[in-house]
Amino acid sequence: EAGVAQSPRYKIIEKRQSVAFWCNPISGHATLYWYQQILGQGPKLLIQFQNNGVVDDSQLPKDRFSAERLKGVDSTLKIQPAKLEDSAVYLCASSLSFGGANTGELFFGEGSRLTVL
Protein backbone atom coordinates (compact mmCIF):
# COMPACT_ATOMS: atom_id res chain seq x y z
CA GLU A 1 0.00 0.00 0.00
CA ALA A 2 1.42 3.40 -0.97
CA GLY A 3 1.95 5.79 1.92
CA VAL A 4 1.26 9.49 2.25
CA ALA A 5 3.24 11.37 -0.40
CA GLN A 6 4.53 14.90 0.16
CA SER A 7 6.53 17.28 -1.96
CA PRO A 8 8.87 19.01 -2.05
CA ARG A 9 10.99 17.41 0.70
CA TYR A 10 13.06 20.56 1.15
CA LYS A 11 12.51 24.20 0.30
CA ILE A 12 14.60 27.28 1.01
CA ILE A 13 13.07 30.69 0.37
CA GLU A 14 13.59 34.26 1.45
CA LYS A 15 11.13 36.03 3.72
CA ARG A 16 8.16 37.56 1.96
CA GLN A 17 8.33 34.95 -0.80
CA SER A 18 5.62 32.34 -1.24
CA VAL A 19 5.75 28.57 -1.11
CA ALA A 20 3.34 25.70 -1.70
CA PHE A 21 3.38 22.15 -0.39
CA TRP A 22 1.52 19.22 -1.84
CA CYS A 23 0.14 16.11 -0.16
CA ASN A 24 -1.41 12.98 -1.59
CA PRO A 25 -3.03 10.91 1.17
CA ILE A 26 -3.55 7.18 1.27
CA SER A 27 -6.33 6.15 -1.08
CA GLY A 28 -9.70 6.05 0.63
CA HIS A 29 -8.69 8.13 3.65
CA ALA A 30 -11.36 10.72 4.35
CA THR A 31 -9.42 12.75 6.92
CA LEU A 32 -6.36 14.77 5.98
CA TYR A 33 -4.25 16.84 8.37
CA TRP A 34 -1.56 19.46 7.92
CA TYR A 35 0.79 19.91 10.85
CA GLN A 36 3.60 22.36 11.51
CA GLN A 37 6.49 20.98 13.55
CA ILE A 38 9.12 23.39 14.78
CA LEU A 39 12.41 21.88 15.92
CA GLY A 40 12.11 20.53 19.45
CA GLN A 41 8.33 20.70 19.58
CA GLY A 42 5.44 18.37 18.94
CA PRO A 43 3.30 18.72 15.81
CA LYS A 44 0.86 21.62 15.80
CA LEU A 45 -2.34 21.13 13.81
CA LEU A 46 -2.81 23.76 11.12
CA ILE A 47 -5.87 22.37 9.39
CA GLN A 48 -7.94 19.19 9.31
CA PHE A 49 -10.12 18.18 6.39
CA GLN A 50 -12.90 15.63 6.32
CA ASN A 51 -13.25 14.81 2.63
CA ASN A 52 -13.13 18.31 1.08
CA GLY A 53 -14.63 20.13 4.06
CA VAL A 54 -12.67 21.90 6.81
CA VAL A 55 -13.14 20.40 10.30
CA ASP A 56 -10.64 22.50 12.23
CA ASP A 57 -8.52 25.43 11.08
CA SER A 58 -8.46 27.30 14.38
CA GLN A 59 -4.65 27.44 14.50
CA LEU A 60 -4.09 28.30 10.85
CA PRO A 61 -2.65 31.85 10.48
CA LYS A 62 -5.19 32.77 7.85
CA ASP A 63 -3.54 36.07 6.95
CA ARG A 64 -0.70 34.16 5.32
CA PHE A 65 -1.54 30.45 5.23
CA SER A 66 -4.16 28.80 3.05
CA ALA A 67 -5.01 25.20 2.30
CA GLU A 68 -7.39 23.43 0.02
CA ARG A 69 -8.45 19.90 -0.68
CA LEU A 70 -10.30 19.99 -3.93
CA LYS A 71 -12.20 16.80 -4.79
CA GLY A 72 -11.46 15.43 -1.34
CA VAL A 73 -8.22 13.75 -2.35
CA ASP A 74 -4.89 15.55 -2.53
CA SER A 75 -4.24 18.84 -0.80
CA THR A 76 -2.02 21.90 -1.05
CA LEU A 77 -0.81 24.19 1.72
CA LYS A 78 0.39 27.65 0.74
CA ILE A 79 2.28 30.30 2.67
CA GLN A 80 2.27 33.83 1.28
CA PRO A 81 4.22 35.84 2.33
CA ALA A 82 6.57 33.69 4.40
CA LYS A 83 8.13 34.88 7.66
CA LEU A 84 11.28 33.70 9.40
CA GLU A 85 9.22 31.95 12.08
CA ASP A 86 7.57 29.76 9.43
CA SER A 87 10.78 27.72 9.22
CA ALA A 88 9.60 24.25 10.21
CA VAL A 89 8.72 20.83 8.93
CA TYR A 90 5.23 20.64 7.43
CA LEU A 91 3.75 17.22 7.95
CA CYS A 92 0.77 15.82 6.15
CA ALA A 93 -1.15 12.91 7.62
CA SER A 94 -4.26 10.98 6.68
CA SER A 95 -6.61 8.58 8.39
CA LEU A 96 -9.72 6.65 7.48
CA SER A 97 -11.73 8.89 9.80
CA PHE A 98 -11.44 10.70 13.12
CA GLY A 99 -13.64 11.46 16.05
CA GLY A 100 -16.06 8.59 15.91
CA ALA A 101 -16.19 4.85 16.46
CA ASN A 102 -13.85 4.29 13.53
CA THR A 103 -11.12 6.62 14.77
CA GLY A 104 -7.84 5.01 13.90
CA GLU A 105 -4.22 5.39 13.09
CA LEU A 106 -2.85 8.50 11.43
CA PHE A 107 -0.38 7.82 8.63
CA PHE A 108 2.24 10.52 8.20
CA GLY A 109 4.22 11.57 5.18
CA GLU A 110 7.95 12.26 5.48
CA GLY A 111 7.35 15.99 5.70
CA SER A 112 8.43 19.09 3.82
CA ARG A 113 11.24 21.01 5.50
CA LEU A 114 10.98 24.75 4.98
CA THR A 115 13.80 27.17 5.68
CA VAL A 116 12.99 30.88 5.47
CA LEU A 117 16.03 33.17 5.24
Binding site: T103, L106, F108
Partner: protein, 114 residues
Protein backbone atom coordinates in the same frame (compact mmCIF):
# COMPACT_ATOMS: atom_id res chain seq x y z
CA UNK B 1 0.77 24.82 30.54
CA UNK B 2 0.66 21.98 28.05
CA UNK B 3 -2.61 20.06 27.75
CA UNK B 4 -0.52 16.96 27.20
CA UNK B 5 2.60 16.53 29.29
CA UNK B 6 5.33 14.09 28.38
CA UNK B 7 8.13 13.06 30.70
CA UNK B 8 11.00 12.87 30.71
CA UNK B 9 11.91 15.42 28.07
CA UNK B 10 15.04 13.44 27.21
CA UNK B 11 16.58 10.17 28.25
CA UNK B 12 19.97 8.54 27.78
CA UNK B 13 20.21 4.85 28.66
CA UNK B 14 22.74 2.09 28.31
CA UNK B 15 21.90 -0.63 25.81
CA UNK B 16 20.01 -3.43 27.53
CA UNK B 17 18.37 -1.23 30.14
CA UNK B 18 14.62 -0.80 30.57
CA UNK B 19 12.96 2.60 30.40
CA UNK B 20 9.56 4.23 30.76
CA UNK B 21 8.08 7.34 29.16
CA UNK B 22 4.91 8.91 30.52
CA UNK B 23 2.16 10.95 28.92
CA UNK B 24 -0.47 12.75 31.02
CA UNK B 25 -3.52 14.59 29.72
CA UNK B 26 -5.39 17.40 31.45
CA UNK B 27 -8.53 16.46 29.48
CA UNK B 28 -10.61 13.29 29.29
CA UNK B 29 -9.02 10.80 26.95
CA UNK B 30 -10.90 9.09 24.15
CA UNK B 31 -7.75 7.55 22.75
CA UNK B 32 -4.00 7.75 23.13
CA UNK B 33 -1.47 7.34 20.30
CA UNK B 34 2.23 6.60 20.52
CA UNK B 35 4.49 7.45 17.60
CA UNK B 36 8.23 7.38 17.04
CA UNK B 37 10.09 9.96 14.97
CA UNK B 38 13.64 9.97 13.71
CA UNK B 39 15.24 13.28 12.78
CA UNK B 40 14.16 14.43 9.34
CA UNK B 41 11.56 11.72 8.98
CA UNK B 42 7.84 11.38 9.45
CA UNK B 43 6.11 9.82 12.43
CA UNK B 44 5.94 6.05 12.64
CA UNK B 45 2.87 4.58 14.37
CA UNK B 46 3.60 2.39 17.38
CA UNK B 47 0.31 1.85 19.18
CA UNK B 48 -3.13 3.22 19.85
CA UNK B 49 -4.96 2.69 23.14
CA UNK B 50 -8.66 3.36 23.55
CA UNK B 51 -9.97 1.62 26.61
CA UNK B 52 -9.09 2.12 30.24
CA UNK B 53 -6.63 -0.48 31.41
CA UNK B 54 -5.76 -1.43 27.85
CA UNK B 55 -2.25 -2.67 27.29
CA UNK B 56 -0.60 -3.36 23.94
CA UNK B 57 2.80 -4.71 23.03
CA UNK B 58 4.88 -4.62 19.90
CA UNK B 59 8.23 -6.39 20.01
CA UNK B 60 9.91 -4.97 23.11
CA UNK B 61 7.63 -1.96 23.50
CA UNK B 62 4.58 -2.04 25.78
CA UNK B 63 2.07 0.76 26.30
CA UNK B 64 -0.65 0.98 28.95
CA UNK B 65 -3.57 3.36 29.40
CA UNK B 66 -4.76 4.42 32.85
CA UNK B 67 -8.09 6.07 32.13
CA UNK B 68 -8.65 7.30 35.70
CA UNK B 69 -5.31 9.07 35.81
CA UNK B 70 -5.69 10.18 32.16
CA UNK B 71 -2.21 8.84 31.64
CA UNK B 72 -0.32 6.43 29.45
CA UNK B 73 3.10 4.89 29.88
CA UNK B 74 5.39 3.47 27.21
CA UNK B 75 7.86 0.89 28.43
CA UNK B 76 10.84 -0.41 26.48
CA UNK B 77 12.45 -3.60 27.69
CA UNK B 78 16.12 -4.34 27.03
CA UNK B 79 16.67 -1.20 24.95
CA UNK B 80 18.70 -1.31 21.74
CA UNK B 81 20.32 1.45 19.66
CA UNK B 82 17.50 0.99 17.14
CA UNK B 83 15.08 2.30 19.76
CA UNK B 84 16.74 5.72 19.68
CA UNK B 85 14.56 8.57 18.45
CA UNK B 86 11.82 10.90 19.58
CA UNK B 87 8.72 9.35 21.10
CA UNK B 88 5.54 11.38 20.74
CA UNK B 89 2.22 10.82 22.39
CA UNK B 90 -1.01 12.13 20.89
CA UNK B 91 -4.31 12.37 22.74
CA UNK B 92 -7.82 12.24 21.31
CA UNK B 93 -9.74 14.67 23.56
CA UNK B 94 -12.78 16.94 23.61
CA UNK B 95 -11.89 20.57 22.99
CA UNK B 96 -13.62 23.63 24.46
CA UNK B 97 -16.22 23.48 21.71
CA UNK B 98 -17.05 19.83 22.55
CA UNK B 99 -15.42 18.59 19.38
CA UNK B 100 -12.96 15.74 19.22
CA UNK B 101 -9.42 16.92 18.72
CA UNK B 102 -6.00 15.33 18.55
CA UNK B 103 -3.27 17.09 20.56
CA UNK B 104 0.39 16.23 20.84
CA UNK B 105 3.03 16.22 23.54
CA UNK B 106 6.43 17.82 23.02
CA UNK B 107 8.15 14.47 22.71
CA UNK B 108 10.77 12.48 24.59
CA UNK B 109 14.18 12.24 23.00
CA UNK B 110 15.76 8.83 23.64
CA UNK B 111 19.41 7.97 23.11
CA UNK B 112 20.68 4.43 23.65
CA UNK B 113 24.39 4.03 24.18
CA UNK B 114 25.92 0.76 22.93
Amino acid sequence: SQELEQSPQSLIVQEGKNLTINCTSSKTLYGLYWYKQKYGEGLIFLMMLQKGGEEKSHEKITAKLDEKKQQSSLHITASQPSHAGIYLCGADILNAGNNRKLIWGLGTSLAVNP
